[in-house]
């Protein structure tokens, strides 16, 4: 039989078969279940948005854009809310202010710490320090709040005082009342301490994935450690650092308890960061929720919706950047 092959005899080329991969019934059921499970997250995210806006629709309908751009929060006694006014502008400004302070402080600290762990720390200590960072990223915010209230805010308000004394001419550092506790500055620092481990963790991860060949090539060309970091590691890991920072920013924007404990909520847009007044949407919700009337609860749900949109925008941008840097392997 074998001899017949390739000896000029007419070989019958079989007709090209069309391959049909038909899933068995078991597979179809399986795929159905898995898809349903996976799509639940999509549905859930949609439901969050829908429910928040449906339950607070009355507020948006009545105040419109004023709910976002005015700074008056008066809860009246009337059940139909005719004597109430709600606006979250001051809280929104405060949220962004505090989060920006946090990111400005945390970013250099986190990049330094990540470089330290991956490139300066002896290999033996590396895994324990990594674990320390991961644990501190998981420390509950109420614990950070407790520590901030009893240990940190005293020191931080004296730093604020120093800053005012030596740089008070700068408009951001001016104050009207000589009181430095419970300021956006302190809240920003506390948030910075909270998000530093998050940014460190993400940056460290990307730095450690730098192809060793590139680093070694840099050394082989006579580059110093800093040369390798600046020309190889940082360019390679920059998108990871940006992504980690955005995740940290998202966390800072939505933080409730720690900010609630160290910040004085005042319904007036305030950019003087050392002044003892500030705002934060999430803390507003936690503060007012306890004794809110039915009508005010709707306003709080509306505030929650605004916060949801804000953080989702930041997070989706972050996710986009990170996933573009590390695309899904096929």
């Amino acid at each position: 039989m074998g001899a017949a092959l390739g000896h000029g005899t007419e070989t019958q080329v079989p007709e090209k078969r069309t391959i049909v991969a038909q899933a068995s019934r078991g597979d179809r059921v399986f795929r159905g279940i898995v898809s349903a499970g996976a799509l639940s997250s999509l549905v859930l995210l949609g439901l969050i948005a829908v429910f928040l806006i449906v339950r607070s629709g009355e507020i948006f309908g009545r105040f419109g854009l004023d709910f976002i751009f005015s700074s008056d929060w008066t809860a009246g006694a009337e059940a139909d809310g005719s004597d109430s006014t709600f606006g979250v502008w001051a809280m929104l400004v405060g949220t962004i202010l505090v989060s920006v302070i946090a990111v400005i402080v945390a970013l250099p600290l986190a990049v330094g710490a990540a470089l330290f762990i991956e490139f300066y720390l002896p290999e033996r200590l590396r895994s324990s320090v990594r674990m320390l960072v991961d644990i501190s990223a998981a420390v509950p915010s109420v614990v950070y709040g407790l520590w901030a209230v009893s240990i940190f805010s005293g020191a931080a308000s004296s730093w604020g005082e120093l800053l005012h004394k030596f740089a008070g001419w700068f408009p951001l550092f001016g104050v009207e009342n000589e009181q430095y506790d419970r300021s956006p500055f302190i809240a920003g620092l506390v948030l910075a301490i909270m998000i530093t481990p998050i940014i460190t963790s993400v940056s460290r991860e990307v730095f450690s994935r730098t192809p060793p060949d590139l680093v070694n090539a840099s050394y082989a060309l006579g580059g110093s450690r800093w040369g390798a970091i600046r020309n190889v590691v940082l360019p390679y890991g920059s998108s990871g650092v940006v992504g980690g920072t955005m995740l940290g920013l998202g966390r800072a924007l939505g933080e409730t308890v720690a900010v609630y404990l160290v910040l004085n909520l005042v319904f007036k847009p305030n950019l003087r960061i050392l002044e003892s007044q500030g705002g934060n949407v999430a803390s507003l919700i936690a503060t007012k929720f306890g004794e809110a009337s039915q009508y005010e609860i709707k306003a709080l749900l509306a505030a929650g919706f605004v916060l949801f949109i804000l953080t989702m925008t930041v997070n989706m941008a972050a996710t986009y950047i990170v996933q573009k840097a590390s695309p899904l392997e096929s």
């Binding site: 899933a23 078991g26 597979d27 399986f30 795929r31 279940i33 898995v34 898809s35 349903a36 499970g37 996976a38 799509l39 639940s40 997250s41 999509l42 995210l45 439901l47 969050i48 429910f51 928040l52 339950r55 600290l109 330094g112 710490a113 330290f116 762990i117 300066y120 674990m131 501190s136 420390v139 509950p140 915010s141 109420v142 614990v143 709040g145 407790l146 009893s150 240990i151 940190f152 020191a155 301490i193 530093t196 460190t200 450690r225 800093w226 040369g227 970091i229 409730t256 308890v257 999430a282 936690a286 929650g304 916060l307 949801f308 953080t311 997070n315 989706m316 996710t319 996933q323 392997e329």
Partner: protein
């Protein structure tokens, strides 16, 4: 003629090795800077750690510069950057160390009393000494809600991961994107959502509502970790299973998932670590109750973080001691969970 011994190989010299002689000047600068800064702090009005840091940083930077002088611009920059990185890392780690240290030292007192774990706050108030009352109600409540959240999230998270890695469904890019973005839903918004649905629907706070709010926050962690783990399964295993004629569902259920059993457990553990300390969503969904409750549907349930939060608000000395002890308990839980997760994560790689 030549005395070179060709028999024994030359001892390698390792010029990059860190010898005491090379490190000595650096240690000298660090120590000298430390002492000099301490002297300045003691003699001048500058006080405390921040004063010390203010003096130490310039001394160590100048010292580092002096040490590397004469070795060329590249070496000098390298040394300066190295010093800066170490200093910055020190500043970054200092608050964490301070926090851990304070929680341990302040929390141990109350935690060492047996009644802190065995009794609740039904008959004890904020002014009662530490030998009365405890956090049993909060512990049981936290446990209840974490179990509810895990029971809901673990299957959903694994299904999501299977969808992304095994099925490679058409929507996998979107699902992955949504899961990743969901990890940024502010915890208080998750609480508000459950409040506006479950709590308003049942017309009361409950442990079930708390567990559901926690589940929203837990899902992204579980799904992402499970996905990472499933990606590690070698394709050979799948191919072998298909080659033996197994359909996809058998391959996934009986080949792929058992391979990463401990990885799946790890994803659950990391998820629990993520939610165990959440306060804000529970304020709006489970609220707080001073006595121990076992029913997840009948009224408010206490939890460790909300208990801590309430203790902080009452502000008495003993309340703060209890709050530190609760924090220590939470930190211990996180630590144990991470250690277990780390122990497990090595298991699947054979």
């Amino acid at each position: 003629m030549s005395d070179v011994d060709l028999q024994s190989p030359p001892t390698p010299i390792r010029p990059w090795r860190i010898t005491p002689r090379r490190v000595a000047p650096q240690i000298a600068v660090a120590l000298g800077g430390t002492i000099a800064a301490m002297v300045v702090v003691l003699l001048t009005p500058l006080a405390g750690f921040d004063g010390w840091l203010l003096i130490f940083v310039p001394i160590s930077v100048v010292g580092g510069y002096m040490l590397s002088r004469g070795k060329g611009a590249v070496a000098t920059t390298d040394a300066m950057v190295g010093n800066t990185v170490v200093l910055v890392a020190g500043v970054a780690f200092y608050p964490i160390i301070s926090l851990l240290w304070t929680v341990i030292t302040q929390g141990l007192d109350a935690l060492l009393q047996w009644n802190f774990i065995s009794s609740d706050m039904r008959i004890s108030g904020p002014d009662d000494e530490l030998n009365m009352g405890g956090a049993a109600h909060a512990l049981i409540g936290t446990l209840m809600m974490v179990v509810i959240a895990t029971v809901i999230t673990l299957p959903l998270g694994v299904l999501t991961a299977v969808y992304v890695t095994e099925m490679r469904g058409r929507l996998r890019v979107i699902v992955r994107f949504i899961i990743q973005s969901m990890s940024g839903v502010p915890s208080i918004v998750a609480g508000l959502f459950i409040y506006s649905t479950v709590v308003m629907g049942m017309n009361r706070f409950s442990g079930l509502a708390g567990g559901l709010a926690l589940a929203i926050l837990m899902l992204p962690t579980v799904a992402r970790t499970a996905e990472e783990v499933l990606k590690l399964v070698p394709d050979d295993l799948r191919s072998a299973s298909y080659a033996l004629g197994a359909p996809q569902w058998r391959t996934t259920l009986f080949v792929v998932l058992p391979t990463v059993r401990s990885g799946i457990v790890t994803s659950g553990i990391l998820g629990v670590a993520r939610i165990a300390g959440e306060t804000a969503p529970l304020l709006l969904t489970a609220s707080y109750f001073t006595a121990t409750t076992y029913s997840p549907t009948e009224g408010p349930v206490a939890s460790l973080p909300v208990f801590t939060f309430n203790l902080l608000q009452s502000g008495t000395e003993y309340s703060f001691a209890r709050a530190w002890a609760c924090s220590l308990l939470l930190l211990l839980a996180v630590f144990v969970l991470f250690t277990v997760a780390r122990g497990l994560s090595g298991r699947d790689k054979r």
